[in-house]
């Protein structure tokens, strides 16, 4: 059978590309499998993990524990380190052969390199950096009721519509758009890390996972690039996405950057959390890029998010507004950050910051 992305009836099952680096699976894989499980259940089809690498069979069970019925496993020495050429060739060959109806990738630097290359070759649609996915129209309507100002009940809906509805922020977070790929398959999306919830692993599912080894061909001559080295970052990177407490700084620390950072660190240490920053703080070189919260940085949802001297541009808010509790300290009472804050203090971070650290220390001691 030839491959024709327009013959949508030929395509079946939900696939998740499961990225591994140096033989270790990524957290995003588990988030995507957990979400993919729901989509597969909605469609009444199988959930399949797509795993590429060199000697990575041992990872298959872990993928099963997060909901994969099957793992499509492609192993080769040429797949040890990620290269666009090798990964795109193997994925496209296998997809053209087995024909999944949905293909999801984590929106990592690798996923966002690989997915568009594949979508272009497969002649199908790809939605970038999604934050929400739906199949069922009633569920999608529920989502809109909670997250939009649209007149959901005054709109005419095709309740039987089974297209994957891929929702994402656009225009720096000013707009949300739901994208569909109605005429081609697979419907493809990259999904933002840290946004979808990962389910609890299930050992029974892990033991039941089926491994499928498809045919593919890959020669050294298929690679137009050579990986000379893969280096880990020299310093320990901060885990903003997994943090329960984040203290972020913005342009407000400009008057004394070192002091402002110290105040944020002290408060973060007292809370047992980490320091983040707005785009202004990262672009000014005050903090490293791994600490950036926002549309072009990371999306976080800690228990407590403290914004010190951050005005609250929309591109920042889109990355932190789903935090459980937001505390904002800013000299300007009209700063937009107060629009999303649960608790606002209009004051100077250089004086309020240390007082807040002391107050939290005292409140904890009093417990």
């Amino acid at each position: 059978m030839g491959y024709d992305s327009k013959k949508i009836e030929d395509f079946k099952n939900v696939w998740v590309f499961c990225e591994q680096r140096q033989g270790k699976l990524m957290n995003t894989d588990f988030e995507l499998l957990s979400e993919g499980r729901k989509l597969a259940n909605d469609l009444g089809v199988k959930l399949v993990g797509l795993l590429l690498g060199d000697k990575v069979e041992g990872l298959a069970k872990e993928l099963g524990s997060y909901g994969a019925d099957e793992v499509v496993l492609c192993e080769s020495e040429l797949l040890k380190d990620y290269t666009t050429d090798a990964y795109a060739k193997v994925i496209c060959d296998v997809v053209q052969d087995i024909k999944p109806e949905i293909l999801l990738f984590g929106a990592s630097n690798i996923g966002r390199d690989l997915a568009p290359r594949c979508a272009a070759r497969l002649h199908t649609g790809l939605c970038a950096d999604c934050t929400h996915l739906d199949i069922d129209v009633p569920q999608y309507k529920e989502f809109l009721r909670a997250n939009s100002t649209l007149d959901v009940d005054g709109t005419k809906w095709d309740e039987g519509d089974r297209n994957l509805k891929m929702t994402r922020p656009a225009f720096g977070g000013h707009l949300m758009a739901t994208i569909i790929c109605p005429r081609f398959r697979p419907a493809m999306a990259t999904v933002r890390p840290g946004v979808l919830k990962k389910a609890a692993p299930d050992q029974a599912k892990a033991d039941a996972v089926q491994i499928v080894r498809p045919n593919f061909s890959l020669e050294a001559s298929d690679l137009k690039t050579t990986v000379l080295a893969v280096e880990k970052a020299a310093k320990e990177l901060v885990d903003l996405i997994g943090a329960d407490f984040i203290v972020s700084v913005g342009r407000g620390i400009a008057a004394d950057v070192e002091k402002g950072k110290k105040i944020a660190e002290d408060l973060a240490n007292e809370l047992g959390g980490v320091v983040g920053g707005s785009r202004a703080a990262i672009d000014s070189g005050w903090l490293s890029a791994d600490r950036q919260v926002g549309q072009t940085g990371k999306t976080v949802h800690p228990k407590v998010y403290v914004a010190l001297g951050i005005s609250g541009a929309i591109q920042h808010k889109v990355g932190m507004q789903d935090s459980e509790c937001i505390i904002a300290v800013n000299k300007n009472s009209a700063a937009p950050i107060f629009e999303v804050a649960d608790y606002g203090i209009c004051g100077d971070l250089f004086t309020v910051g240390p007082m807040l650290t002391e107050a939290i220390k005292a409140a904890k001691a009093a417990k």
Binding site: N147, L175, M176, Q321, G344, C346
Partner: protein
Amino acid sequence: MKIIVCVKQVPDTSGKVAVNPDGTLNRASMQTIINPDDMNAVEAALSMKDETGCEVVVVTMGPPPAEGMLRELLAMGADRAVLISGREFGGSDTYATSQILAAGIKKIGIDKDDIIFAGRQAIDGDTAQVGPQMAEKLGIPQITYAAEIKKDGDSITVKRMLEDGFMMIKMQTPCLVTCIKELNSPRYMSIGGIMTAYEKPLEIFDYAALKDDPLIDLDTIGLKGSPTNIFKSFTPPQKGAGVMLEGADKNTCAKLANILAEKHVI
């Protein structure tokens, strides 16, 4: 050797953004800028030109006023510019856009030692998809998220950033590289550059100019040829503002700490 740089004129989403009642963007009310990551791509090309004397061609797809942006880039030091513009191209998603840009680049011509630079992503869509999709349509290799680029002979070596480190990758030319802000600091226009910007060649490729390319088919470009469609667009609801605490002193902080303690968040 030449370098082709793909750039995009975008609304300045960091400023005030007006949204129409129907949930679409009021573009007329917005300032336009050259997409920030694209400026790093332009700088990468111009510094390679400083080193090797190669030719730099800037190319964009957009409405006729995008010519102003191209003139600015000519003033910065680019040698010639191409504006791809036509009603048939409107409404294209990333797939359709990459087909049109790839056809435009084929018309400019890619030789064995040529390189295409683009920004990592544009601040209006934030997709980062057009670069890789273009590379695929042109059948050339790609490296995204470039933080360092070195040319040597018929290959380039690129430091490609990952979230947890980086890779050093060697790639044959012709090839495509997408650039991030860590790569360099973009230069300004020079007075001399501004004087000569209007004398440098600026070509316009419309639908008629590109239609003979196999990539250009009314079924694979524009709104109708785009595999993805917008199902709904909406503005996120503003989260209700919480409590503005009175004062900014020790008492205020103590009150807040106690609320957190009562709610068992600390």
